[in-house]
């Protein structure tokens, strides 16, 4: 500012100020008397205070209560103080932010009279985080789930949730001055008091845990979908998109997609690689890939200048299909219909040639076809009628407007498409966009592809009879996830290795940590396991850990239809359910016609335990097992080491028995017991 402006203002200011006050008017002396000095509080509390405010000379104006975290004022409350000498009460909120440590805040009281004289007093308040006994997850539809405390400041709930779940987390009032606190979402961060719900998302719907840390506000899950490292932008709860520049033959690597092995891969655009990636099959260009997580497939749209492309006058661009009787990934699940938004973009497979592959009974109905081609992107514009499109197919014709709607494709007389046969529709504009030629060719049958099964994301190997196996390291108590296996509730899980919680769709691994072979028999509907050492069945270690094996008659798995006998390849490895303790849990049943799970005969048992899966070291002679106290009522140990039912004993058919071999006293001092559960 120039001096010529400053000088008059400076000179005038004293005069102006003096002119609005009487020279004799007193300054006054505001006096603060803080009555209820509260020295401790929690974040999120409303701190109550009472102050006696007085000024003997000048009328009071306001009392301000200011809360400082460090040097920063984070909250202020103002009370009008009309009468001197009176008690004034109020509350000031202690804001609760992420990552703010416990510490000493400052409550500053500022009392001011009408002559602007102020007095200030500061009081320390020790502020700590509240210890919530639990939290409540409240979804947008009002459903509530209790989040239990899982550690210091951490809370979680595991349940069946949709893939995307918008919810608030409510913390209950803690302490006399506490408030119910609502964790919401603002600017991509969890925040107390935010008006938007937290957009939790998992890689897939189903059972998963939602967690929140009340100190850091870290929450999960927030899954991110990526293709070639580029994050997909969410369109709605089920779909997300990304625009990519792709070249023919380019690999596309997905990240974050659940059950990607189950996704339908559109053969016009992609082929699937063994490593889980895709290879782009169409011509190079710019494309929009829309991931539909509900239908589990990618919808692909050719782009021009960042928007869905239309057919250009020279035949380049894109060609779209709208109509009935077809749809991707399946005509049943997603028939295209006469909805422009669902128009299917054909893949440009060569210059001015567009392709759509359909499979009879799957992506196209076999008894009828009634769809047509449009040049304008997802609209009714630039419709192809018979004057601009001819068919040289002996299967499909282009309607001429008489017996068939003009331009609509129809099955020629006597033609029925065949189930599971691949039909490739190509429209060729190389002769001009007014001279389109449709060809439809049969390209064999769609090969039967056994759906891969993944255990915790690792692909299981499969041979004949839909039996899937994997050797992997597993931890006691850990969850096991099989994707793409329907009806797990009807499966039999070896009860000493695996437990299945049908309500929560959770499989838990039971034995000690180690390497195990897991076998999933899809046709037999069983899941079994045995301890492995590398790629071979484990043996009993000198330290008592590993596996022991059972052979003999009167026992089998998963039912007595598969008795072990004395065939070494049938030897059954017992689970080490706690250190050096091995168990075989079985329901007693008949030798013939037993049900799954009935693994011991009610009327006869004669088995022996071995140190390996085969002959060799065994629990006999000096190493013979001894009976635990009380087990002699059910079992006896023969001189040859065989274990049999005690004389005259018949087990209760249908009852569950636990046979346990305890080697904690040493491999040569094993104790066997059996109890009825």
């Amino acid at each position: 500012m120039k001096l010529k402006y400053i000088l008059p203002v400076a000179l005038a200011m004293p005069a102006l100020l003096w002119s609005c006050k009487d020279d004799d008017e007193p300054f006054g002396n505001p006096v603060i008397d803080y009555r209820d000095a509260t020295e401790t509080a929690h974040f999120g509390d409303s701190l109550a205070f009472t102050v006696n405010a007085a000024d003997a000379e000048v009328a009071l104006s306001t009392l301000k209560a200011q809360l400082y975290y460090g040097d920063e004022m984070v909250e202020e409350t103002v009370i009008r103080t009309k009468e001197s000498g009176k008690d004034y009460s109020g509350k000031i909120y202690l804001p609760y932010f992420a990552n703010v440590p416990d510490g000493t805040a400052t409550l500053k009281l500022v009392l001011q009279n009408i002559n602007f004289t102020i007095s200030e007093k500061e009081y320390p308040v020790k502020v700590t985080h509240p210890d919530f006994p639990y939290l409540t997850l409240r979804t947008e539809d009002g459903t509530e789930y209790r989040m239990n405390k899982t550690g210091l400041d951490t809370y979680a709930v595991s349940d069946r949730f949709p893939q995307k779940l918008k919810a608030f987390v409510i913390a209950p009032k803690v302490g006399e001055n506490g408030n119910e606190l609502v964790f919401g979402y603002e600017n991509s961060q969890v925040k107390i008091g935010a008006e938007s719900a937290i957009p939790f998302s998992s890689s897939r719907g189903g059972k998963f845990a939602i967690e929140l840390n009340t100190r850091t506000f870290a929450a999960s899950p927030f899954s991110v979908l990526k293709l070639n490292g580029q994050e997909l932008e969410s369109i709605d709860d089920n779909t997300a998109r990304v625009d990519l520049a792709l070249s023919n033959g380019q690999a596309i690597t997905p990240e974050g997609f659940s059950n990607f092995g189950d996704w339908w891969i559109d053969p016009d655009w992609f082929s699937r690689n063994d490593d889980g990636s895709l290879t782009f099959k169409a011509m190079g260009g710019n494309y929009r890939l829309i991931a539909d997580q509900k239908l589990q497939y990618f919808r692909v749209e050719t782009l021009l200048n960042g928007t869905p492309a239309s057919l250009q006058a020279d035949g380049t661009g894109a060609l779209w299909v709208i109509g009935a009787d077809f749809g991707k990934p399946g005509v049943g699940a997603n028939e295209t219909g006469w909805t422009t938004e669902k128009a299917v973009c054909m893949a440009p497979v060569a210059d001015k040639i567009y392709q759509m592959t359909l499979v009879g009974g799957k992506t196209v109905k076999t008894g009828s076809t009634n769809f047509k081609f449009y040049g304008d992107a997802m609209s009714w514009g630039n419709e192809f009628k018979h004057d601009r499109l001819t068919s040289n197919s002996d299967l499909i014709g282009v309607g001429d407007g008489d017996s068939h709607d003009d331009g609509n494709l129809y099955l020629l007389d006597g033609v029925t498409l065949k189930d599971n046969v691949i039909y490739v529709f190509r429209v060729d504009f190389t002769a001009g966009v007014d001279k389109g030629v449709l060809t439809v060719t049969e390209e064999g049958e769609q090969p039967f592809e056994e759906k891969p099964i993944y255990l915790n994301g690792v692909k299981m190997t499969t041979g004949d009879n839909a039996i899937y196996t994997i050797v992997t390291d597993l931890a006691q108590g850990s969850a096991i996830d099989f994707n793409s296996v329907d009806g797990l509730a009807d499966f039999y899980f070896d009860p000493d290795f695996l437990s299945y919680d049908a309500d929560n769709d959770v499989i838990t691994f039971l034995p000690m940590d180690g390497t195990y072979q897991i076998v999933l028999d899809k046709l037999g509907a069983t899941v079994t396991a045995q301890r492995f050492d590398g790629n071979s069945p484990a043996a009993l270690g000198a330290d008592g850990h590993g596996a022991i094996y059972m052979m003999g008659w009167g026992a089998g798995s998963p039912s007595l239809d598969s008795q072990f006998g004395w065939e070494t390849n049938q030897a059954y490895g017992l689970a080490e359910i706690s250190p050096k303790v091995y168990r075989f849990t079985a329901v007693a049943g008949p030798e013939k016609g037993s049900e799954i799970g009935q693994r011991i005969r009610a009327d006869y048992i004669s088995v022996k335990f071995f140190w390996q899966k085969g002959w060799g070291g065994e629990f006999s002679g000096d190493n013979a097992l001894t009976l635990a106290p009380g087990s002699d009522k059910l079992l006896k140990v023969n001189a040859d080491g065989n274990i049999e039912l005690a004389a005259g004993v018949t087990l209760e058919a249908g009852a569950t028995y636990e046979m346990t071999v305890d080697l904690t006293a040493g491999n040569s001092a094993g104790v066997i017991s059996m109890v009825k559960k």
Partner: protein, 500 residues
């Protein structure tokens, strides 16, 4: 409980302030500061020393001080410095001493020049700029077109009058003020007798622009670099680093030479690297020295990484240098991810009429985000912008080169009055607190849209923190190094530097 009681009277304070203002302002009209007068770069002592600049120059490298807080740090806007997580070492920040810049500086009175250079380069009485770039031979901001060997035969190498009369004297003045300033050299063109029209026809060319280095002269041109470095050293100037070609994909300008990555690979592997080794020259060699987008030449994408793929060439290269006239600085991250052991440095950016470059209100923060914080946060060890000083006619400049650019500062026709532009503020805000040899360190905590920052640990153990705020409201932050903390403000549309 502590009880801090104080009584104040706003009326009395206002009166006293008014009287004080009056008594100061009334003294002498001639002593009122002229608007053009620049503030003295004097730190204000305190626990934390601060420099602040706003896009309206209400704060113009304004020094202030902050005391460490004595209270518990409970600020929700805390930024925590983590010196246990370190990133790249910092070489420095500065501007190019082009022929034009040196010429303009020489046109100033010795007193004015000394004052400007001191406030720019002094680490104790100025902003401590620590990195400068010079051309090897001419650049597009030279007084004419030339190289140091325009007569065929490498034995004819000699420094030019622009070097001896302008650039080197200025460098020596700078080094006298701050001996730790690093000097970076880049050629715009090889001597024309070493150039051919292309590598297929190999026809001689007399053009200052375009052409390519004749492979037959790889050894001579490598010797040219050796002689240039030795000549500068004989004149008291150590050359810290060179690139082998400024903007190797640019065939235009007033002087230039195309050098694709395969040529540069072969040149460094077969000639420059071995020559430097044989001569005992420790000067760093950086590859590339051009735009993030490789001028959209498909076969040149990832230029330096293609050279790094050849271990024989890579062993001579310290890293790569980049300009920002095309592409995105994220390229720095990609190159670092591919070759984390190779260094990165940002060596050129210019403001001009094309981007309203003298408009501080729009450029101060955006340039800070792009040039300084943006490159440093993407692994650059330093940043150098183009001309330190241009004149009122945007020059001296050359036909075919840039004619409408601005310097970091511009000086008027009297060679008296200086206009600071955004790049000057940017570099000063970095160099004033981030010392050569500093390490960028990790931060956690508060972030906000428009708030960009970076933290450093200096070799003497002090901490540096530089922040820009592109928002329309000031950002109050608390900086916490684990032992001490303090609250500070980064003004709206402003930048602030802290050292403690």
């Amino acid at each position: 409980m502590f009880d801090k009681y104080k009584t104040s009277n706003m009326l009395l304070g206002t009166l006293l302030c008014s009287l004080a203002l009056c008594s100061t302002a009334c003294d002498d009209n001639d002593k009122f500061p002229e608007e053009e007068t620049t503030p003295q770069p004097v730190w204000v002592d305190g626990d934390v020393r601060v420099l602040t600049t706003t896009n309206n120059r209400a704060k113009d490298l304004t020094p202030s001080a902050i005391s460490f807080s004595t209270k518990d740090n409970m600020s929700p806007r805390s930024i925590y410095l983590d010196p246990s997580t370190t990133y790249q070492e910092i070489d420095g920040f500065g501007a190019a001493i082009t022929g034009s810049t040196a010429y303009n500086l020489m046109k100033m009175t010795p007193e004015d020049r000394a004052k400007f250079l001191k406030e720019t380069f002094s680490t104790t009485e100025g902003y401590g700029m620590s990195y400068v770039r010079v051309s090897i031979g001419c650049s597009d901001f030279s007084l004419s077109e030339f190289t140091c060997c325009d007569t065929p035969g490498i034995e004819n190498f000699a420094l030019t009058s622009e070097d001896t009369q302008y650039v080197i004297p200025i460098l020596k003045e700078i080094l006298a003020i701050n001996p730790d300033v690093k000097v970076f050299g880049s050629p715009w063109t090889a001597p024309r007798w070493m150039k051919v029209n292309n590598l297929t026809e190999l026809k001689p060319t007399t053009s200052w622009t375009g052409g390519q280095l004749n492979p037959a002269y790889y050894q001579d041109y490598a010797e040219y670099f050796v002689k240039w470095i030795q000549a500068f050293k004989q004149n008291g100037v150590d050359i810290y680093a060179v690139t082998l070609q400024n903007e190797p994909l640019n065939r235009g300008n007033s002087a230039s030479m195309f050098m694709g990555w395969e040529e540069q690979r072969d040149f460094v592997k077969q000639a420059v690297g071995p020559k430097f080794a044989a001569a005992g020259i420790k000067t760093k060699i950086y590859a590339f020295d051009h735009n993030y987008n490789y001028d959209n030449m498909a076969d040149q994408k990832g230029y330096p990484t293609k050279i790094y793929a050849d271990p024989e060439a890579a062993r001579y290269l310290a890293g790569a240098a980049y300009h920002n006239y095309g592409g995105n600085r994220d390229e720095l991250n990609k190159v670092h991810a591919a070759y984390p052991d190779k260094e990165l440095v940002f060596t050129e950016s210019t403001a001009g009429d094309w981007n309203d470059g003298a408009n501080l209100s729009t450029h101060l923060v955006s340039d800070m985000e792009e040039i300084c914080l943006g490159t440093v946060n993407n692994w650059a060890r330093g940043a150098i912008i183009w001309n330190l000083m241009l004149d009122a006619n945007r020059g001296p400049n050359r036909p075919g080169g840039c004619i409408n650019g601005f310097g970091a500062v511009d000086i008027d026709a009297s060679y008296k009055n200086i206009q600071r532009n955004s790049f000057y503020y940017n570099m000063c805000h970095m160099s004033a607190v981030v010392k050569p040899g500093a390490r960028r360190i990790a931060t956690t905590g508060y972030t906000a849209n428009g708030l960009t920052y970076s933290a450093f640990r200096n070799p003497d153990g002090s901490y540096a923190f530089v922040a820009s705020n592109n928002g329309s409201e000031a950002q109050n932050i608390t900086l916490d190094d684990g032992n001490r903390h303090f609250s500070a403000t980064v003004p709206a549309k402003g930048i602030a530097s802290f050292i403690w």
